[in-house]
Symmetry: C2
Subunit: 126 residues, 2 copies
C-alpha cells in the first residue's frame, strides 16, 4: 500500500476542492482528455491502477470505463511545478471519449494562424 497522503498534501486544489488532470496515452502520447479530481479521486488514481475522476456535473466519483469498458490503466503520474495540475499517463482501452472518438479533442479542430519565430517579434508586453 502506497502512502499518498504526502502527495495529496502537496497538491494545490482549487477553491472547489478540485485539480485538473490531463490524461495522456503513455506510448503514443496523445492527449486523451482532461478531467477533475478531488483528493479522494487522486488517491484512488494513484493507488488503484485505474483513473478515477470527480464529476462536476453529477457530483460523484466516476471511474473511467466502468460503464463503457474503456478503462484507463495508470502507467505514471506527475504533479506540475506549482502543484495545481496533474498529468496521468495511462494505457487507454478503446476510446477515451464518450462520443466514440479516440480522444476528446478529435472532433473540433480549430482554425489557427500558424506561428513562426520570424513573424511575431515585438508586440505584447510581459
Amino acid at each position: 500500500m502506497t502512502d499518498v497522503q504526502p502527495v495529496i498534501d502537496r497538491v494545490r486544489f482549487a477553491s472547489d476542492g478540485l485539480v485538473p488532470a490531463v490524461v495522456q496515452q503513455w506510448d503514443t502520447r496523445e492527449v486523451l482528455m482532461l478531467g477533475y479530481m478531488n483528493a479522494e479521486a487522486l488517491r484512488r488514481t494513484l493507488t488503484e491502477g485505474r483513473v478515477t475522476f470527480w464529476s462536476r456535473s453529477r457530483q460523484e466519483f466516476w471511474r473511467k470505463g466502468d460503464t463503457s469498458g474503456h478503462a484507463q490503466y495508470v502507467r505514471s503520474a506527475a504533479l506540475d511545478c506549482d502543484g495545481d495540475t496533474v498529468l496521468v499517463q495511462v494505457d487507454q482501452v478503446g476510446v477515451a471519449c464518450h462520443t466514440g472518438t479516440r480522444t476528446c479533442f478529435d472532433a473540433d479542430r480549430l482554425e489557427v494562424v500558424f506561428g513562426e519565430a520570424e513573424q511575431t517579434e515585438g508586440g505584447a508586453s510581459s
Copy 2:
C-alpha cells in the same frame, strides 16, 4: 484575419470566465504545461501565432516567452467534446517551465500503483 468569434461562442468558459488550455509540443507530443485563457487570450492565441494566457495570480494577460524568450508558436488547436478544455499544439522554444525544465511535469513524478487489465476487475460503481 480569421473570424474566431464563432469558436469563442462555442467555448464553455467556467464561472470565472476561464478555460484550461493544455499545451503540447506538436512533434514529440510532450505535455508541456497547463494554463488558463479567457476569451481574449484564446482569440489572441488563435489569431496571433503565439500562445497567450490569462494569469489568475496576476490578473493579467501573459504571452509565453515575452520575458523568458521561450515562446510557444501555435501549430494547431482543438476544443474538446464538451467545449470546456482547449488543446494547443505548439513549437516550444527552449523550455516551457519557468523553473528551467523542459515541461512543467518533469520535476515531481508521483509514485503510482501500475494498472493492468487483469488486476482491477470489479469494484467501483458507475
